[in-house]
Symmetry: C2
Subunit: 194 residues, 2 copies
């Protein structure tokens, strides 16, 4: 980051934190990076990082320009009966992806994850820790880790076909057809007996 | 392609055809490109292209360095009872992806499709026309287009989680656990009532 010629003040210090976080997440992964180390790299007090970004998840969401906070989704899904979580997950997923600006930002995220190994590591750790594992653990504690990745596989594959590769007829299918087709599958992954 | 200094002969002419095909597939997509146009671009008779590569599918597979011919998979699946196609599709998919050299080549294909719009178009047209649509059409003629993309979404998402992003525990799950978890879902996509 170019440090010459900038004006001093909170906004540039905040940018320093984002830049330090970006480097730490890439080097150490989402799990390995700590607020303390990021704050030290940026030369600020850890309390300021918490003040600006909340949790480490919030800081990661800011670094990755995520259009939605996973914690918001997890909280919303926590109120849904366990036998309806699959349908609600794909409904929520559609809500997030169907909005064009969010879709563009998420497509960039997918491209980054697929082409850069450091990015893939930090994104996978984040997705599991912040989103899929908490949901799967509540719905079905038994084998929740495998269930979480199964549900994730169906939803990420759906995003690939509909938004990234844009394969018809799925690319133009109605949201209600998508929910009817994929909701029961996500539910199956979360709760089926093995 | 550098044309100076090469030795004359069939092998370099064959390379000319591959180079011409690569450009045509990128410009016109898999559906729009024709053997006739590719042969003309390479300055050879179309019969030579058929002789070297068989069908347009075979030429595409050579251009993309595909580790397996989709026609081979479609033929093998044609002998499978309709109610077992889902399980056999994921078994076949595992066979192809678990071999390290094939996996590396397919990972490159995924990365190319995700990051390049021309590549995404030609790869999606090829996957649908050569692989998913023929299988879905036989198993379930009703809505086979949507069914094909649903089955594809589960399998591509599985490949993303297990091989590209390598998210645990799916990345290390046994093939039998994978088949037990995903086979019924692919079958559901191909045959469920909507």
């Amino acid at each position: 980051m170019a440090r010459t010629g900038r004006r001093p003040g909170a906004s540039s210090t905040r940018d320093d934190v984002l830049e330090a976080a970006r480097a730490r997440f890439a080097a150490d992964g989402f799990r390995g990076a700590t607020i303390r180390a990021i704050a030290a790299d940026a030369g600020v007090d850890p309390a300021m990082v918490h003040h600006w970004f909340g949790t480490k998840q919030g800081l990661f969401a800011a670094v990755m320009d995520l259009p939605v906070q996973p914690a918001t989704i997890v909280e919303a899904l926590a109120a849904v009966p366990a036998d309806q979580v699959g349908v609600r997950m794909i409904e929520t997923f559609l809500d997030v992806w169907e909005e064009p600006d969010r879709r563009d930002r998420l497509t960039i995220l997918v491209r980054t994850a697929v082409t850069n190994d450091d990015a893939a590591r930090m994104i996978r750790e984040f997705l599991v820790d912040a989103l899929f594992a908490p949901v799967a653990r509540r719905v079905s504690p038994d084998r929740h880790g495998l269930r979480a990745t199964l549900a994730a596989s169906q939803m990420i594959g759906f995003a690939m076909i509909r938004y990234v590769l844009r394969i018809e007829p799925m690319a133009s299918a109605s949201p209600s057809d998508i929910v009817a087709a994929i909701g029961p599958v996500v539910q199956h992954h979360l709760t089926a007996d093995y």
